[in-house]
């Protein structure tokens, strides 16, 4: 379904864009229908940049992004819009996705305006309630509220509900769990697993290996923009080959083992 073919991203940085920074270097992997692929790495390793390129929120410097057989990496206009109807993203910091001067549910109504202009009010209402229910939000508690009146977890679930309003084929989930508390986390993870069983492909970006392990079929380990290890999740976790993967594994806090602190 989605195939990344040696994609790279070079940012121009510094005063007047005089220097170049290679954030992503020749990364290749694929996500199939009903497959969850974890993209794991430290902060700054290029995970979000890859996610943003897949969502076409960042331009692709080099390489191809092939979706259902078509290179979408240079799509614009109507073709880009059609692509976005099938591929949506949810991000880590729920606050930045909201404009504080508008009510939070504006993000839902905007989907209606741009993708479902013909849908009747009652059909829309049902659709809304279904997707809010899927993320366990009580419409009465969240609709009509401003962002500052809702918790981070509520705002995050609202954004997942927003993605679910579209019949998407691929979800890019960029660290969506890290701001949520434990029981909400597992609900959202299980929700993603159910969506996967219904055929949704998920690019699950995380630095938390336990979350990646719980959910994903395959894992891609990213270090400084490059893939250092890739394979079936169970293998990567049982038998990590790269020292970096081992270090990431050792940092995960666990309840049956305490860190040995120097």
């Amino acid at each position: 379904m989605l195939t990344l073919e040696a994609i790279s991203k070079v940012y121009k940085v510094g005063a007047f864009g005089g220097r170049e920074l290679t954030a992503v270097q020749e990364v290749s992997f694929a996500v199939g229908p009903g497959e969850v692929v974890s993209l794991i790495g430290e902060s700054g390793s290029g995970k979000s940049t890859i996610g943003r390129m897949v969502l076409r929120l960042a331009s692709v410097t080099k390489g191809r992004i092939v979706f259902d057989g078509t290179d979408v990496s240079r799509h614009t206009g109507a073709r880009l819009k059609a692509y976005r109807k099938k591929v949506q993203g949810v991000f880590q910091d729920p606050f930045s996705s909201y404009n504080p001067i508008f009510k939070a549910d504006r993000v839902l109504h905007m989907i209606r305006d741009s993708f479902f202009p013909g849908v009747s009010a009652s059909q829309w209402r049902t659709k809304l309630e279904e997707s809010l229910d899927a993320v366990r939000l009580d419409p009465g508690q969240v609709l009509g509220k401003y962002p500052h009146q809702l918790s981070g977890g509520q705002l995050q679930r609202l954004l997942i509900a927003r993605a679910l309003l579209l019949d998407i084929e691929l979800l890019v989930a960029d660290e969506i769990i890290s701001m949520l508390d434990a029981s909400t986390r597992i609900d959202v993870l299980n929700l993603l697993a159910e969506l996967k069983e219904r055929g949704l492909g998920i690019l699950f970006i995380t630095h938390d290996l336990s979350l990646g392990h719980y959910l994903s079929d395959r894992s891609v380990i990213l270090r400084r923009g490059e893939v250092v290890e890739i394979g079936p999740t169970t293998e990567v976790f049982a038998n990590p080959k790269h020292d970096y993967t081992k270090m990431l594994l050792a940092s995960v806090p666990q309840l049956h083992r305490k860190w040995d602190m120097a």
């Binding site: 366990r136 719980y214 806090p253």
Partner: protein, 316 residues
């Protein structure tokens, strides 16, 4: 001597009535103790944290008192609290990293804060630089703008700043939740180091990440819907929790090794009650698998064994 909180009730005034975000908390944090504070989003962790520092205009102190090292904190008196804030009790607020003023260099910001509290930046500078070095930061960060630092660097800078005057108590609200695992670990270990070096005497580490706080905390306190549910040594809370909510919370944690395909973890069905008009009796009642008649009455938060307090009729 540490911190003693007595029946603390802090509500938010809203158009529709009072939100009972913190509804009667009684607990102590001893000198040298790192207490983890955990619980679902919205249970009142940040409200408790803010209450010990600064009640904003919408928060009202309904009852209770807070004693730090034997002195009562004048919670409702903004002027009088100035003497304690930052110097005796310091808070790293949730989202502190994103709240840093992007147009001010770090050093300038620290200088302004320190001066506003009546201290000389020049006098404190050598100690500031020494502590930055201790957490692996070069003094150059003082000349950086916040956006030029990574999340972990920003968080360590905020930690150094918040403890510069050696406060008795540091409250760290979700300081690791936006960081990656290796940085999280470094920041968490820095907290322990600050305690061990005596930069702070005791600490409240607020988090929803029980596995993380378990690594560094001596004790863990769990809140539910504005009330205290359980407090005990960290090992007890994790290995022998007595409150049904704590048990469910712990069993919902994904550990490395658990996979959806093999063992599906379950969250806690239902939602916490709204705090505008919370139900009487045990607030966990409608989600609790052990609930029985008696739970219509509110369970007191009592010691069930030495150092282990629980608010549940089934745990007594």
């Amino acid at each position: 001597m540490g911190l003693r909180v007595e029946n603390l009730r802090v509500y938010y005034r809203t158009m529709r009535g009072d939100v009972k975000a913190l509804d009667g908390a009684t607990f102590e944090v001893a000198d040298g103790e790192i207490m983890g504070l955990a619980g679902e989003s919205g249970c009142g962790k940040s409200t408790l944290s803010k209450s010990l520092i600064r009640l904003d205009s919408r928060m009202k102190l309904v009852a209770g008192s807070v004693e730090l090292d034997g002195k009562m904190l004048p919670l409702t008196d903004h002027e009088a609290m100035n003497k304690y804030r930052f110097a005796e009790v310091s808070l790293i607020p949730q989202y502190a990293m994103s709240a840093l003023n992007p147009t001010r260099k770090i050093g300038k910001m620290i200088a302004e804060l320190v001066r506003s509290r009546g201290f000389s930046y020049r006098v404190l500078l050598p100690e500031l630089e020494r502590r930055l070095a201790l957490v692996g930061l070069s003094p150059d960060v003082l000349n950086n703008y916040p956006i030029e630092l990574s999340g972990g660097m920003k968080q360590r800078t905020v930690m150094v700043l918040s403890t510069l005057l050696d406060p008795s108590l540091l409250i760290a609200d979700e300081v690791t939740s936006a960081l990656d695992v290796s940085t999280q670990r470094a920041v968490a270990e820095t907290l322990v180091q600050f305690r061990d070096r005596g930069f702070v005497k005791s600490m409240i580490v607020v988090t929803h990440d029980l596995s993380l706080v378990y690594q560094i905390a001596d004790t863990i306190m769990v809140m539910y819907a504005g009330k205290l549910a359980e407090k005990a040594p960290a090992d007890k809370v994790v290995k022998e929790p007595r409150h049904p909510y704590t048990r469910l919370l712990i069993s919902s944690l994904p550990e490395v090794g658990v996979r959806y395909a093999e063992r599906r973890l379950v969250g806690i069905p239902g939602r916490p009650p709204g705090l505008l008009d919370p139900p009487s009796g045990c607030r966990f009642r409608d989600r609790c698998p052990l609930a029985f008649d008696k739970c219509a009455e509110e369970p007191p938060f009592v010691e069930v064994e030495r150092g282990h307090e629980v608010a549940c009729w089934k745990a007594m």
